[in-house]
């Protein structure tokens, strides 16, 4: 029971991060039907920037949480700019091209970002300095650290804000109109290019926050960390129903919990044949199951008509 609870806690924390990243996939897919495979690499950049700031300031005497916050303040604009440029340079010229072209371009952008990161930060695993004090409290026998609760609460707040933005604001109206019929949205006065740029910028800001969380919580960052993370978050988005905001959150949390439970029990279930290092298998098993059984995802609606 204690293992169960502990793995549940770990799963919710991991799932919160997946959900934040999945939101980036879902926002962009929702608005232009594009799977931005470079999104995971934007998370990586967020992680790298936060980590770099943390290393630079680790002996400054500033309190750890403040350093992480400063790292985030650097990571968010960096990622926003990256997201903006990706759309502007790589995707916009292909707006009216066949679907396959932007997809292949997305993979190209991903490789480009990884190589850029390798040139800047090297091929080594970089470790996050030990600057965050670790308090933990006990919850029915499972331990929850302050960092973990901040991740879960922080993600939750971001998700509520995003949901408000998309459902209740003028920008949100423009986003929803653009996603359903960009031409008619234009006739109503929506500047579609701006809305698409803002969508990328928004998704990238969430990616920066997720990157900060990953590097500070798992204590490590690497130039190709965005690949696996991106693939899992994409799985989460598909699981929940890609294009659907609540779906991304649900999919992220479920995937986090499934993985974490899997890692906790796989060894016992298989008599030690498969250990927790098989954790990654779950995500793709889930992806395949969803694609076969319910391609529209748990909360996915019928795909809306496109002009």
């Amino acid at each position: 029971m204690e293992i169960f609870l502990q793995q549940l806690v770990n799963g919710v924390v991991l799932g919160s991060i997946y959900a934040l990243v999945a939101l980036g996939y879902t926002l962009v897919y929702g608005i232009m039907g594009l799977i931005n495979f470079a999104h995971g690499d934007v998370v990586m950049i967020g992680a790298m920037v936060t980590l770099t700031v943390a290393r630079l300031l680790s002996n400054s005497g500033l309190p750890g949480p403040l350093i992480v916050l400063l790292g985030l303040l650097a990571a968010v604009p960096t990622c926003m700019a990256t997201g903006y440029l990706i759309e502007r340079i790589a995707y916009r010229p292909l707006r009216n091209a066949p679907r396959l072209a932007p997809l292949i371009t997305a993979i190209g952008v991903s490789i480009l970002l990884q190589n850029l990161a390798m040139m800047i930060w090297g091929r080594e695993y970089l470790s996050f300095p030990q600057i965050i004090p670790s308090h933990a409290f006990s919850f029915f026998g499972a331990s929850i650290s302050t960092t973990q609760s901040i991740i879960v609460i922080g993600s939750g707040v971001m998700m509520v804000c995003l949901s408000f933005l998309v459902k209740k604001t003028k920008l949100g109206n423009a986003m929803r109109a653009t996603s359903q019929n960009p031409e008619v949205a234009t006739l109503m006065g929506v500047e579609v290019n701006t809305v698409i740029s803002l969508t990328f910028i928004l998704g990238s800001a969430l990616a920066a926050i997720a990157g900060m969380m990953v590097s500070a919580y798992y204590g490590i960052a690497h130039y190709d960390m965005g690949f696996m993370l991106g693939l899992k978050a994409f799985t989460a988005a598909v699981l929940g129903g890609i294009g659907n905001i609540e779906g991304a959150v649900l999919g992220g949390l479920l995937l986090g919990i499934i993985e974490s439970m899997g890692a906790g029990y796989l060894g016992t279930l298989t008599g030690g044949v498969m250990g927790s290092n098989y954790q990654d298998v779950f995500a793709f098993f889930v992806l395949i199951l969803v694609l076969v059984l319910r391609p529209s995802g748990l909360l996915g609606e019928r795909v809306g008509e496109r002009p």
Binding site: A177, Q180, G189, E191
Partner: protein
């Protein structure tokens, strides 16, 4: 001064000419019909005037002002609205969300009042305001599209085949509303395959054939024209 003047408009798709140098104009308060067979270039003409299909060359003047180079999303502020072919609804959004999108560029305080006016015009829509517009019947969808265009407060309204796919009774109803709209002072350019109804409610008409305007004049005259009778009125 003419409200709208289109001069020598050319539009092509990937090098294929769809509109080949047409001229047309609208006086304030007129209802003008634009008729023609499938593929004649009627929709392309409207789309080019509204800026959503780029024109190749030509001039589009709104009260003498060249609007051909204005970014398309600004045209709504100049009072131009289109009820597009196939209605162009935001299908997953509710009726009310669609109507309110029409007021997206407005900053005035009359939006709520105008919404109620639309519901008064289309009581059916009031009953279904929360329903996803994609699930409405064809006639109701056309009402939403028309209502949404009216929410922009247009001076100049382009209607692209509002009768398409509707039962005769619904066609009557939609055209009744269109007449009401016109009597409120909105200038209309009506594209229709149903030439009889378009010519019977308009003052003037243009006949388009493979990218050119081949005939124009008073609608009553066009209704009597043997060529029009044979080609578009089935007589």
């Amino acid at each position: 001064m003419k409200l709208l003047e289109v001069k020598n408009l050319h539009v092509s798709y990937d090098g294929i000419k769809a509109v080949k140098g047409i001229d047309l104009h609208l006086e304030k308060g007129e209802i003008v019909a634009l008729i023609g067979a499938n593929g004649a270039g009627k929709s392309t003409t409207l789309r080019a005037i509204c800026g959503i299909t780029p024109m190749h060359s030509g001039k589009i003047l709104l009260e003498g002002m060249d609007i051909g180079k204005i970014p398309p999303h600004h045209l709504v502020k100049h009072g131009i609205a289109l009820v597009p072919e196939g209605r162009g609804l935001f299908g997953r959004s509710s009726v009310e969300e669609n109507l309110l999108m029409g007021a997206y560029s407005r900053r005035d305080r009359e939006i709520k009042a105008d919404l109620e006016k639309i519901y008064a015009l289309f009581p059916r829509l009031a009953e279904r305001r929360k329903q996803a517009s994609g699930t409405l019947s064809g006639g109701e969808q056309q009402m939403v599209s028309l209502g949404r265009a009216l929410m922009t407060k247009p001076r100049l309204l382009f209607l692209d085949e509002p009768s398409m796919g509707l039962a005769p009774i619904m066609v009557q109803k939609i055209f009744e509303i269109i007449r009401t709209v016109a009597s409120g002072g909105v200038t209309l350019l009506l594209v229709e395959q149903n030439a009889r109804i378009a010519l019977s409610m308009s003052t003037r008409g243009y006949v388009m054939e493979s990218g050119n305007i081949i005939l124009s004049g008073a609608s009553s005259m066009l209704l009597d024209n043997p060529q029009v009778k044979a080609a578009y009125l089935g007589q």
